[in-house]
């Protein structure tokens, strides 16, 4: 009798399992078409020279000093905007919550959603119009006796690009970190104080341990976000600044140095760094959820 009931139970379970797989099919298909196949084609292409012959030579190209530079620049750009955007975003996010005003918080979130998605040509143009050589702000500051460009600043440099990236990195951080900040309960601070802890002790033993995984995970996303950004940088510098996405476009669309194999290698390098960020992010999120889930 036991055996019959057990098999009777198992049948619907198996059917449910099949349904779940069926439901996942479109997703799997998308992964296959837009992630796995392109990656395979990248790998395939990276092992072929311009004349179509098979060779790992492209990878030595990746390690040449010329190609290390775009990676260095990209890492520098991503890391600096990650840090600036991340830390400012964290502070602003906390300020939005501490304001205690629902209106202020809603406005902050709405602005952040808009700004975080404002990128590419429009963003580049907005900055050229304000902080460019003849931009509004530049001219206004000049009127006050502050000569930005005379002091060595130019929008069309790494520093300029970092300034532009900070424009979307900061609000993105606000959006990413707000839920974690919101989940901090006032009672935790009060309980700590009640047990004799000062502000710093509370931060060190309670607030920072709780928030740190979310903060780092959000910052990793900022890093990846900046690392892969192309349109903004291209629109601003028309391709002469050596960062990875622009370098890729140079080798696959240029006339002089057209070399799709090298583009594939660069893209694999880029994908590799992004993958590290995403894996790190998922791992940290898991770690937090070990004690955060209610």
């Amino acid at each position: 009798m036991n055996a019959t009931t057990r098999s009777a139970q198992r049948a619907p379970t198996r059917r449910r399992g099949a349904l779940v797989w069926l439901a996942l099919l479109p997703f799997g298909l998308a992964i296959l078409l837009f992630l796995l196949l392109p990656t395979l084609s990248l790998v395939w292409g990276s092992f072929h020279l311009r004349d179509g012959s098979f060779s790992p030579a492209n990878y030595t190209f990746l390690l040449s000093p010329d190609q290390i530079r775009p990676f260095q620049n990209s890492v520098l750009l991503s890391a600096s905007t990650m840090l600036v955007g991340g830390i400012c975003g964290l502070v602003i996010g906390q300020a939005l919550l501490s304001s205690g005003s629902l209106l202020v918080r809603e406005l902050g979130v709405t602005f952040s959603s808009v700004a975080a998605n404002f990128a590419g040509v429009p963003l580049a143009f907005a900055f050229i119009a304000t902080l460019g050589v003849a931009g509004l702000v530049t001219r206004f500051l000049a009127g006050l006796g502050i000569d930005l460009y005379g002091a060595g600043f130019t929008l069309y440099s790494m520093v300029g690009l970092a300034t532009v990236y900070a424009y979307f990195q900061l609000p993105l951080m606000v959006l990413l970190i707000l839920p974690a900040l919101q989940a901090m309960r006032r009672e935790w601070r009060e309980a700590a104080e009640n047990l004799g802890a000062g502000r710093w002790y509370y931060l060190r033993r309670v607030a920072i341990p709780i928030l740190l995984p979310s903060v780092i995970a959000s910052m990793l996303l900022l890093f990846a976000n900046a690392f892969g950004a192309y349109a903004t940088a291209y629109a601003l510098t028309t391709g002469f600044l050596a960062i990875v996405p622009i370098e890729i476009s140079n080798v696959i669309s240029g006339d002089v140095n057209f070399d799709p194999g090298q583009g594939d290698v660069l893209a694999i390098g880029l994908a590799f760094i992004m993958a590290i960020c995403v894996v790190g992010q998922v791992w940290l999120q898991r770690r937090t959820s070990r004690w955060m889930q209610r």
Partner: protein
């Protein structure tokens, strides 16, 4: 161990008065409960005591020295919050140890103390669990252990049992009482559950809209509530409208009958008043028995029977004063408790006469409309 005094505490939030003119002193080792409906200012008073809110007026005094201006971390008071507030990134053990670590006690001493507390609260087997891995009752025990670990001079408990189920609640409240008695910690417990307040307190502070309605021992508050609000809030209580007939003689009057009632001498002649009688005080009598000045009688039809264990509560409808059939239907409902074993004598639909024995009732001034509203707003009303 300390004596706690609150002097003239008031606090408002914008237009909302949360606490007004709150005066109370809690003796060394005493357990006092704040009992009152939601929003009456219990939490606010407790938070002012702990130092999380600054009172607009008044002072908090511990053992003769004023602490009103001290920050919470220098008051040496232990607090248990309405929703546990355990640190989610720490195990039960680390939570309990927190206050000791803040005080930089030597590790060996900490370990010994934490083990002792985990034992006291039966938490040994969840010592390594994170808060989300524990049941509500376990989390509540950890919160208590954490607050007690640092040997606070005053223990403040904000509805510590509201989030656990009825059985655990009873267990825990006995445990709190036992622990508090053993350690002799001066304790304030906030609750809106009158059974909880009556069962574990030395004294109960009944609060209503930010003010103290009355203070007294559970027995006194139960037996002789001094205000209509308290009467309605604590226990099941029949409230019968009467009028003061003679202040001098201590008589009230209803439906043409006069009878003696304790408390009538404190009200002016002709005042609208309420005669309060507990359901368990009413005595079923033979229909023929006559009413007297000492022993007024009510009569009604059994509408509903509810089983309470040892007793059965009968709800009478169409209730009139007097054993005879004359008179109007004046009282909508009257609750009468009879022994469950005897309840078979009065099935639904039968007539029942009850007497109000001498000394079992009490007269108070009829409540104002606002008081009446406050009582009916109260959740889970046990008033009949």
């Amino acid at each position: 161990m300390a004596r706690l005094e609150l002097h003239g505490i008031s606090k408002r939030f914008g237009d909302q008065v949360a606490v007004a003119g709150f005066d109370l002193s809690v003796e060394d080792g005493e357990l006092v409960t704040f009992l009152g409906p939601s929003g009456c200012g219990k939490t606010t008073t407790l938070r002012i005591t702990a130092g999380f809110e600054t009172p607009d007026t008044g002072s908090v005094v511990v053992d003769g020295s004023e602490v009103t201006g001290l920050p919470p971390n220098r008051r040496g008071m232990g607090m248990v919050f309405q929703g546990y507030a355990l640190f989610p990134n720490m195990t039960a053990r680390d939570n309990v140890e927190f206050g000791l670590a803040v005080r930089r006690r030597p590790p060996a001493e900490r370990r010994r103390r934490v083990d002792e507390l985990l034992g006291l609260f039966h938490l040994e087997h969840v010592a390594g669990h994170y808060p989300h891995q524990m049941s509500g009752g376990q989390q509540q025990r950890v919160a208590l252990a954490r607050a007690i670990a640092v040997e606070p001079s005053v223990l403040l408990l904000d509805e510590p049992l509201s989030a656990v189920d009825a059985k655990v609640r009873e267990e825990l409240r006995t445990e709190i009482r036992r622990m508090q008695g053993q350690l002799g910690i001066t304790t304030i417990l906030v609750t809106h559950d009158q059974a909880e307040a009556l069962s574990i307190s030395d004294r109960v502070v009944v609060m209503n809209s930010g003010v103290i309605e009355e203070v007294g021992t559970p027995a006194r508050i139960y037996a002789e509530p001094r205000s209509a609000f308290t009467a309605g809030f604590i226990g099941a209580m029949n409230e019968l409208p009467v009028r003061v007939a003679s202040r001098r003689e201590g008589l009230v009057e209803r439906a043409g009958r006069r009878f003696a009632a304790p408390g009538a001498t404190e009200l002016p002649d002709g005042a609208a008043a309420l005669l309060l009688v507990r359901p368990e005080s009413l005595e079923p009598i033979e229909a023929a028995a006559a009413a007297s000045e000492e022993r007024p009688v009510l009569r009604g039809r059994v509408d509903v029977q509810t089983f309470l264990g040892a007793t059965m509560r009968l709800f009478l409808g169409g209730v009139v004063w007097g054993a005879a059939a004359e008179g109007d239907h004046e009282i909508e409902q009257l609750a009468v408790d009879v022994p469950s074993s005897a309840a078979g004598r009065w099935p639904v639909g039968t007539e029942l006469s009850v007497a109000i024995p001498v000394g079992s009732s009490r007269v108070i001034a009829a409540r104002t409309a606002a008081e009446a509203a406050a009582v009916t707003r109260r959740p889970g009303s046990a008033r009949t």
